[in-house]
Amino acid sequence: MLRFAVRRALLAIITLLILVAIIFMLTRVFPSDPARQLAGPFAPQERVDAIAAANGFNDPLTTQFGRLLKSVVTFDYGDSFSSPGESVISLVVPALKKSAQLVFFALFLTLPIAIIGGIIAARKKDTLLDRLIVTLGLASASIPEFVSGVLLQYILGVRLGWFPAISNVPDNAGILTTLDYLVLPALSILIVYFGYIARITRAGTIAALEADYTRTAFMKGLTTSQVMRKHVLRNSLQPTVAVTGTQIGYLFGGLVGLEIVFNYPGLGRLTFTAATKQDFPLLTACVITVAIIFMITTLLADLIIAWMNPRARLNLGE
């Protein structure tokens, strides 16, 4: 198990290196002049030159890439371009916390409902209920999350006033108040992810139900609930765990539209702002942060799977 984890971590570091190279190439071919962008469109050329010199925009690319690598290792990306005097990390950390709150609350809502839905659909395979769950999931997941977000926001937030329509959590808010502010974006995530998670769980459960070991268990005379607990769930939830692990990374960085609709200061909106303001240090830091989260959560998911299923451990290199 330990060897497996170490190996995975090493590979993740190599992947991260490649990712940094990709991002570096992208930000370096930005056609605009970053120094001009920083100085403002009407600033005198001398100031633009001074800024270019101060930020090392004129250094050789290898030097600049070296600097970037150092930033990644030390978590020190220097100062943001768009907010002079603020260190990038001081902008990323609060946004990361905000995203974490929303993501975990949304998963807390989504996972139980979707998993139960998936298991029910699998147990009632090919019945009306199964079709309903699958089709509903398909339909809800095919509407972009910002559209369902706006609908929820307007109906539940503005018209009915059940939940705050805008997710600007007040400072010093307690946990319940915070969650209250997060209900609507979390529900929007639920709508999009219910169908996905439910279908993964359904597929996993069906496979487990049809597997030899399940048949053997039934033949041994175990009751349905015993079989489900001891044999089916342990195997059927593995794909769900794997997918959840990877989707957490997506949720941290990919909810740009939703965060804009709810004016939620998460990592997605920060990345979007950084991209539109062409704030390279901030943009790089955001994308790499999301990638690191992705790698950690997928690693965790693998470890959980390995723990759930000894045979997986074998296969994974022990």
């Binding site: 095919s142 996993g204 794909p239 997918v243 990374g249 997506y250 296969n315």
Partner: protein, 341 residues
């Protein structure tokens, strides 16, 4: 590869060296739109009974059997019907739509009716400046049906080439490419697309290429896993014994046998491309004429009207996207099921 591993609840196929178990679940990085089918896209199913020596003849028989099954599957027929309707709209919008895509609805007295709800004058209501929402949805089918399949086809082509090379040769080529693929997979597609399109500007070729490139790693992974499994089968071994070159084996021997996976993969990508294009449009990153009908763009332009109770100019295009994605998914689903049967 987890596709293979999980699809039947036990670990088959791939060898331990392969290090992206979790990542293999298709959709992983990306909007859920694509994810929908991913769980059932399991390439290995297609190969379950392939231990026969006379693989080729057996497969021919299977193919005609599958076609028969396909045409009797209601999901497939419904999906085909939906997609066909949209293709019709994309081909002949002038004949179907009562108004032009850029033509405000005018009543008999010449007056305009901006932001009015569905009525006999405009079946789906009118948008912010008074265009007919219904007509714009019909006109909006064409760009979606051009851009999304093109991007999907390119990504499947790229993914197939890479997947063949990686899966057939393995070794260091595979190791290196795998790391790059994984690097791409670790960032949400929408973030990368945002970056690329902000850099290069939003034109149709750029959008198509961006989506194609960003989808390629996902496709690569799937194809690679299938190819690895195929490469262990007897017909490949015998081709090697015959002294065939690698290129020949990949293109003439393996490729035809993974075509079912390619088709499923293509349909999945089309659905997801539509989703991505709509999301990019939401951020104002669209190509071509800003006033041309485009579902994603129309949603982005009009969603703010919902708070004035004017839901129709954004919800109807959203439903159009939903119906096309569902239609394509139904087709993909049925193709996959039949391939497994």
């Amino acid at each position: 590869m987890s596709d293979g591993h999980y699809s039947d609840g036990k670990y088959t196929g791939d060898e331990p060296r392969d290090q992206f178990p979790a990542a293999a679940e298709d959709s992983i990085v990306g909007a859920p739109g694509e994810a929908i089918i991913a769980d059932e896209v399991s390439p290995f199913h297609a190969l379950k009974d392939d231990d026969d020596i006379d693989v080729v003849a057996e497969r021919k028989k299977m193919r005609s059997e599958r076609r028969r099954l396909l045409w009797r599957s209601p999901g497939f027929l419904i999906g085909l019907f939906i997609v066909f309707l949209w293709i019709l709209c994309g081909l002949l919008p002038d004949l179907i739509a009562p108004w032009g895509e850029n033509e405000v609805v005018r009543l008999a007295d010449g007056s305009t009716i901006p932001r009015q709800g569905p009525s006999g004058n405009a079946y789906f209501g009118t948008d912010g400046i008074g265009n007919d929402v219904y007509s714009r949805i019909i006109y909006g089918a064409r760009p979606v049906l051009v851009v999304a399949p093109l991007a999907a086809a390119l990504s499947v082509a790229g993914g197939t080439i890479l997947g063949l090379v990686m899966g057939y040769y393995r070794g260091w080529v595979d190791e290196v490419l795998s790391r790059i693929v994984e690097a791409f997979l670790s960032i949400p597609v929408i973030l990368l697309a945002l970056m690329v399109i902000v850099v290069f500007g939003a034109t149709n070729p750029i959008i198509i290429m961006t989506i194609a490139i960003l989808f390629t790693p996902v496709v690569t992974r799937t194809i690679r896993s299938v190819v690895i499994a195929e490469a262990q089968l007897d017909y490949v071994t015998s081709a090697k014994l015959r002294g065939e070159r690698g290129l020949f084996i990949m293109v003439r021997e393996i490729l035809p046998n993974v075509s079912a996976v390619l088709i499923v993969e293509f349909t999945v990508r089309v659905g997801y491309a539509i989703f991505t294009i709509a999301t990019l449009a939401f951020f104002g990153l669209t190509a071509g004429d800003a006033t041309a009908a485009d579902w994603g763009k129309d949603i982005a332009t009009n969603y703010r009207l919902i708070q004035s109770d004017q839901w129709w100019p954004s919800i109807f295009p959203a439903l159009a996207i939903g119906s096309l994605v569902i239609g394509i998914n139904l087709i993909a689903d049925s193709l996959d099921k039949v391939a497994k049967a």
